[in-house]
C-alpha cells in the first residue's frame, strides 16, 4: 500500500495540484470522470511533437521510423499493462468508440459482411443481447441500437438493493438465446467490482460473446484480460492518466481476425480496386485514417507511470480510501450511500443521495469549498432510476488522493443539508 509520503511524492508529479480553487488547494475527487495527468505524460506528448512528429507506418525517413517505433511501443506497453498481446489491442478514440466498434461490427456481420468467418457474429430475431442495469450509457445504447438493427432482443441483469448485480436469475437471463453478454468490470457510479469469472463462465456455457467495459477497472485494479477470459474489452486512456482522444479496444486474436471493421478507408487496407477492398490484419484493420499518435505515446507514458508505482499498491491504497469514504458517509445523517456499504469488492468511487438537496446543489456547495465532485446521472440513468433518484453526487479517488481530501469532502457533505435547510 502507498504510504502518505509516497502519495505526497506522487502529487508532486501532477502540475495541476499546484492550483487553488475557491482560495483553497484543489481537492480533486472527480477522477472517475477523468484523471489528472503527471508531467511525464504531458512531456511525452510534447516531446513527441517536438522531436519525432511524423506519419506512422509509412515513409522510410528517420522521423517516420522513430514515430512508428514510439506509436507501436506505446501499444506494446498498454497491451502488456492489461494482460493482452500487442496485436489484440486496437487504438480507438475512447471506450465509447471501442464498444461501438464491437456493436457495429456485429451489425455488419449480421448484414452479411465479413464472409463466412464473420457469420459467427451474426444476430437476428430470436437471439438476445444481455447487459446489466448498472451500465454506463456507452455500454447500453450501442446494444439497444444493435438490437433495433438486427431484431435481436435486449435483456439485462438487475441490480440488487446492495449495489451489486443480482445474479439469482443469471441462468435464465443468459440462456441459450444469448449471443452477447456486455457488462462493466466496475460500476462508474456504485464502485462495485463485478464477478467477471461467474459471468464469463455462464456466457461461455451458452456460447455468448463477452464484452467487458473496463473503463473503471483498468485505472484502479491490476488487470489481466487473458486471465479473465473475456472476448472483447474497452477502456479509455484519459481515466488512467493518459491524454484525451485515445482509448483501446481489446479483442481475442481469433475474434478480431474475423470481426468486420466499422470505420474503413486509408491505412487499413491491403488492396483496393474500384470494385472492392481487402483489409489488413488486426489491429490495423480497426485503425482507419490517421491515428492520434501523440496521444497514444502519452498513453504509453501513463501506463509506464502506473506500472512504476505498481497497480497492486494502488489498488490497496484505494481500498483504504474507499473504506474511509464509505464509513464517513455512513456517519452523516440524511445521506444515503448508493452502492456497496463495505470496502470489499468496490473501488473508491462513492455516490450518495443527500435527502432533500438536489445533487447539483450539493456539488455547488462542495465546489465553493474547493472540493470537485461529479453530480448528475453520470451517464447511467437506468441505474439511478433503479434507486429512485434522478441524480447523485459522486466522489471518486485515485492514486494521488489524500486522506485529507476525503475528510474535506466528508466535512463539507455533512454541512450541505444545513445550508439548504433540508435538516429542519
Amino acid at each position: 500500500m502507498l504510504s502518505a509520503a509516497q502519495v505526497a511524492r506522487i502529487r508532486n508529479d501532477f502540475p495541476v495540484f499546484d492550483r487553488e480553487v475557491a482560495g483553497t488547494p484543489l481537492a480533486y475527487l472527480d477522477s472517475g470522470a477523468t484523471a489528472q495527468k503527471p508531467a511525464t505524460v504531458i512531456d511525452a506528448e510534447q516531446d513527441f511533437y517536438a522531436q519525432r512528429n511524423a506519419a506512422v507506418h509509412r515513409g522510410a525517413h528517420t522521423l517516420a521510423v522513430e514515430a512508428t517505433e514510439a506509436f507501436e511501443g506505446a501499444r506494446a506497453a498498454v497491451a502488456a499493462f492489461v494482460g493482452a498481446d500487442p496485436d489484440e489491442l486496437c487504438w480507438t478514440k475512447n471506450a465509447t468508440e471501442a464498444l461501438n466498434v464491437v456493436a457495429y461490427g456485429l451489425a455488419n456481420a449480421s448484414a452479411g459482411l465479413g464472409g463466412a468467418e464473420a457469420a459467427r457474429f451474426a444476430l437476428g430475431p430470436g437471439d438476445t443481447i444481455v447487459v446489466t442495469e448498472m451500465e454506463h450509457h456507452a455500454n447500453l445504447v450501442p446494444w439497444q441500437q444493435l438490437a433495433a438493427r438486427t431484431g435481436a432482443g435486449l435483456r439485462w441483469i438487475p441490480l440488487g438493493e446492495d449495489g451489486r448485480l443480482d445474479l439469482t436469475d443469471l441462468d435464465d437471463i443468459v440462456d441459450e438465446h444469448a449471443k452477447v453478454l456486455a457488462f462493466s468490470h466496475v460500476s462508474n457510479v456504485l464502485g462495485t467490482i463485478n464477478p467477471v469469472g461467474a459471468l464469463v463462465e455462464r456466457a461461455r456455457r451458452v456460447g455468448a460473446l463477452t464484452v467487458l467495459d473496463a473503463c473503471q477497472s483498468a485505472p484502479h485494479l491490476p488487470l489481466d484480460l487473458h486471465g479473465l477470459g473475456v472476448d472483447f474489452a474497452a477502456f479509455s486512456g484519459h481515466k488512467m492518466l493518459a491524454p484525451t482522444g485515445i482509448g483501446a479496444l481489446y479483442g481475442r486474436a481469433e475474434l478480431l481476425a474475423a470481426l468486420p471493421p466499422v470505420l474503413t478507408g486509408g491505412s487499413m487496407i491491403t488492396t483496393v480496386t474500384m470494385e472492392g477492398a481487402q483489409f489488413m490484419a488486426p489491429p490495423q484493420r480497426f485503425e482507419a485514417g490517421t491515428q492520434p499518435v501523440a496521444q497514444a505515446v502519452g498513453f504509453g507514458a501513463a501506463v509506464d507511470y502506473l506500472r512504476h508505482i505498481g497497480m497492486a499498491a494502488i489498488a490497496d491504497r484505494e481500498e483504504a480510501l474507499a473504506q474511509r469514504l464509505v464509513e464517513g458517509v455512513a456517519r452523516i445523517p440524511g445521506v444515503r450511500l448508493l452502492g456497496p456499504a463495505d470496502a470489499a469488492d468496490r473501488i473508491a468511487s462513492v455516490a450518495v443521495d443527500v435527502q432533500g438537496v438536489h445533487a447539483h446543489d450539493v456539488g455547488q456547495y462542495l465546489d465553493a469549498q474547493g472540493v470537485a465532485v461529479r453530480v448528475g446521472h453520470h451517464c447511467a440513468q437506468p441505474l439511478h432510476r433503479r434507486y429512485g433518484v434522478t441524480a447523485s453526487t459522486r466522489a471518486s479517488a485515485y492514486l494521488y488522493t489524500t486522506d485529507e481530501e476525503c475528510e474535506r469532502f466528508l466535512a463539507a457533505l455533512a454541512e450541505v443539508r444545513g445550508f439548504f435547510g433540508a435538516d429542519s
Binding site: 438536489h358 447539483h360 456547495y365 439548504f420
Partner: protein
C-alpha cells in the same frame, strides 16, 4: 457576499421550498391550452408546465410539476408568481428580460421593478453551469404560451 451566497440568496431558497404553482396539473377535465415538458440533459432535471388564459381577466394561469435542483425549482416558483400577473404578451416581454439577465455573466443590473423576485437570480448568471437550471421552467412556459397564442391565431 460570497459567490455561494450570491447564488443561493435567501429569496431563492425560500422559493425552492414554497414552489408556487407546483400543483396537480390541470388535466383532461380542464384542458390546458398550452403544455410543455423540458429536460436538462446534463442532470436529468425535468419540468412540465401548463398554462391557460383566464377568459375573464386575460391573465395566465400556471401549473407545473417537476423535479430538480433548488435553482430550477425556485425559478419555476418565482416565474409562476410573476406570470400569473401577466397576459401572454406581458409574459413574453418578461421572459425576454429574464433570458437576457441569465446570459449576462454577472454583468447586468437586474430591473427589480419589472422582474420582482426573479431579479434575485442575477447571481446565477455568474455560474454558466447553472443558467440552464434557472431557464428550464421559463423555456417550458414560453413554449406553452406560444401554443396559447397559436390557438388564438388559428
Amino acid at each position: 457576499m460570497s459567490g455561494l451566497d450570491q447564488l443561493y440568496q435567501q429569496l431563492i431558497l425560500d422559493h425552492a421550498k414554497r414552489r408556487t404553482g407546483n400543483m396537480p396539473l390541470l388535466g383532461a377535465a380542464e384542458p390546458p391550452v398550452g403544455a410543455s415538458h423540458q429536460i436538462n440533459p446534463t442532470c436529468g432535471d425535468e419540468i412540465t408546465v401548463e398554462a391557460r388564459r383566464d377568459p375573464a381577466t386575460g391573465r395566465l394561469l400556471v401549473r407545473w410539476d417537476g423535479e430538480g435542483c433548488s435553482i430550477s425549482m425556485a425559478s419555476a416558483s418565482a416565474m409562476t408568481e410573476l406570470a400569473e400577473e401577466c397576459d401572454p404578451e406581458g409574459f413574453n416581454a418578461l421572459e425576454a428580460r429574464f433570458h437576457e439577465l441569465m446570459h449576462s455573466r454577472g454583468q447586468a443590473q437586474p430591473d427589480e421593478e419589472a422582474l420582482g423576485d426573479a431579479a434575485a437570480f442575477a447571481g446565477v448568471s455568474k455560474f454558466p453551469a447553472r443558467v440552464k437550471c434557472a431557464l428550464l421552467a421559463w423555456m417550458a412556459l414560453k413554449d406553452a404560451v406560444y401554443q396559447i397564442e397559436g390557438a388564438d391565431r388559428a
